[in-house]
């Protein structure tokens, strides 16, 4: 089912190569990460801007979990890209990080996406910043079978990375709430249609985005008897299974840790009604 051997995480003070505005509050961070051991699609890293140097800052205290958007290997490490949206103090500090400054990084972390079987169609559903988790999955799934990527956001400017997905040669379908790109409406409407397409076989559905979006995607997949995996977001202090702050209730009782057991979990394994 899931991934191959997962590389051990490292802690490193990564070099900011670029920190670009992608329109509005959306940004693209490119980090030079020495010793990056590679990552599986769906893994993440913890980022602490301001935590390095002679006068480290401890307010805000906690690192922010960020999906690895993609990583380009280079001698001695990799250039790791992060797509993010400025939405609070932590992400504002990240946005303020200038080229040549350092950002502390711990990663790669977590359990990533299972890949589709050879020939199985992958249906990727991304909403808002959730799009950032899906790029490397789309690339890996493309090598195994047909891939349809459904991206949704409030408006066209929030469809981060859409050109990158198009460049992968996957089928791309868009939805925006204001109709400024693709279909007007929610991305889950696109999923409903895709699942109903004639000849749609044993699709594997992947969803990452706001909780209501993932929950709806899980319902639609279940109605069609398809497997659905989701990539969850949560507050966490460490990212590697120690603080136990990111627990989500399991359907059968007990908890899964988003950082270690996830962020990718089978939709059916989660007690959605208890997810805050």
């Amino acid at each position: 089912m899931t991934a191959a051997a997962v590389p051990l995480a490292i802690r490193v003070d990564a070099e900011v190569r670029a920190n670009l505005c992608e329109g509005g509050p959306n940004r693209r961070l490119v980090l030079g990460v020495a010793g990056w051991p590679g990552s599986a699609p769906g893994q993440f890293a913890m980022l602490s801007p301001g935590a390095t140097g002679a006068a480290p800052r401890f307010d805000p205290l906690l690192p922010r979990p960020m999906a690895v958007y993609r990583a380009a290997p280079e001698p001695g490490g990799a250039a790791v890209e992060i797509l993010y949206k400025v939405s609070g103090r932590g992400t504002q500090l990240l946005a303020d990080a200038q080229p040549d400054e350092r950002v502390r990084l711990v990663g790669p972390l977590g359990t990533g996406f299972p890949l589709p079987a050879a020939g199985q169609r992958a249906l990727l559903v991304g909403g808002g910043t959730g799009i950032a988790s899906l790029h490397d999955l789309a690339a890996a799934a493309r090598a195994r079978g047909p891939v349809v990527v459904l991206l949704g956001a409030r408006s066209a400017g929030d469809l981060m990375g859409r050109e990158d997905f198009a460049a992968l040669g996957v089928e791309l379908r868009l939805a925006t709430e204001d109709g400024s790109a693709g279909r007007r409406g929610l991305v889950t409407a696109l999923l409903e249609e895709a699942l109903a397409e004639p000849g749609a076989g044993d699709d594997l559905v992947y969803a990452c985005g706001p909780t209501p979006m993932m929950r709806r995607a899980a319902e639609l997949a279940a109605e069609r008897g398809r497997r659905c995996v989701v990539s969850l977001e949560n507050r966490m202090a460490c990212g590697f299974g120690v603080c136990l702050g990111c627990a989500v209730p399991r359907a059968g009782g007990g908890f899964a840790l988003v950082c270690r057991d996830g962020p990718v979990l089978d939709a059916g394994a989660i007690a959605w009604e208890a997810v805050p």
Partner: protein
């Protein structure tokens, strides 16, 4: 670090430590989670996550929240239980690392039973009685806040085990010196302080607490000055050694605790944001002592120049 001719070894109430840095219970898992990040024998020891007689699954989320220079948590003492710790977790730890087992329970008899099960287990160098965890309603807070209850708890756990016994004190008391004296009088070999400060934050959009549990424990650099004050006060009140805890992010922070009277320290919340923090603190203390011309790190302990002496 080879240049520093400083003796870093300390004796924490019968627990021999290669250097004065441990990790605080609940912030370091069962230890092996940190093996990818550094060789665990670079630090003196670890205090493992608090153990109960049976496994516990913890509180509903949200369990943590960020606060100014700190964080709130109400995890609910989720743990694998004492038997699974001994069978599955201890064997993963390297020799030469002092492992202190933290013990938490809801009744004195159960505390004593957990202590018994840990006694005689290879690799367990000592016990830390968690008398202060502020977020399980029926549990720890009452032991740590009432001198007579605390005294009974220390007496019974002392009787249950021959291992060196540390008692982790709650800061949520009027006079930490009274609690420190009670523990010393009942035979504790050392004190760990402070545990988290009981705290609350509010989500104004819902007018509900930010944590599902309501109240939580505050940790991080925000609490460090409170911890330093309490370590200093306890140091004045008792002769048994003190392990200082509270918002240590750097070696300089740790040295402040030594100066206030701590024989050793525990790095806690810092482990979350920097998984190499404890190792860096250990290295930095040795470098600091060398820079001060100390032959032994222990020379720094209790060297605070307090105006008026107290």
């Amino acid at each position: 670090m080879s240049a520093a001719p400083v003796d870093t070894a300390v004796d924490l109430g019968g627990i021999a430590l290669r250097n004065p840095v441990l990790t605080a219970s609940g912030t370091f898992g069962y230890g092996s989670e940190f093996a990818p990040f550094f060789d665990l024998t670079r630090i003196g020891g670890i205090v493992a996550k608090s153990l109960t007689l049976e496994p516990r699954s913890g509180n509903l989320p949200p369990r943590i929240a960020e606060t100014p220079a700190g964080m709130l948590n109400a995890i609910g003492l989720e743990n694998v239980g004492v038997d699974a710790f001994v069978a599955d977790k201890l064997p993963l730890l390297p020799d030469g690392l002092a492992v202190v087992a933290s013990v938490f329970e809801t009744e004195i008899e159960r505390y004593a039973e957990v202590c018994k099960r840990l006694t005689g287990v290879p690799k367990v160098a000592g016990l830390e009685i968690n008398a202060s965890c502020p977020h399980v309603k029926s549990g720890g807070i009452e032991f740590g806040q009432r001198p007579e209850l605390l005294g009974r708890l220390v007496r019974e756990t002392r009787r249950a085990s021959s291992l060196p016994l540390l008692v982790k004190l709650s800061p949520n008391v009027t006079d930490i010196r009274e609690m420190a004296r009670v523990c010393e009088g009942e035979g504790a070999n050392g004190l760990s302080l402070i545990n988290t400060l009981q705290a609350l934050d509010v989500d104004l959009a819902t007018r509900r607490p930010v944590l599902r549990n309501g109240l939580g424990g505050l940790s991080g650099p925000a609490i460090r000055p409170v911890a330093l004050r309490m370590v200093w006060q306890a140091f004045q009140a008792v002769k048994i050694p003190i392990c200082g805890i509270g918002g240590i992010m750097s070696a300089e922070d740790a040295v402040k605790f030594l100066v206030c009277g701590a024989t050793a320290v525990q790095v806690g919340t810092a482990n979350y944001l920097n998984p190499m923090a404890a190792a860096e603190v250990a290295d930095g203390i040795a470098a600091y002592a060398a820079g001060q011309g100390c032959a032994r790190v222990a020379e720094l302990v209790g060297t605070l120049e307090m105006p008026g002496g107290r």
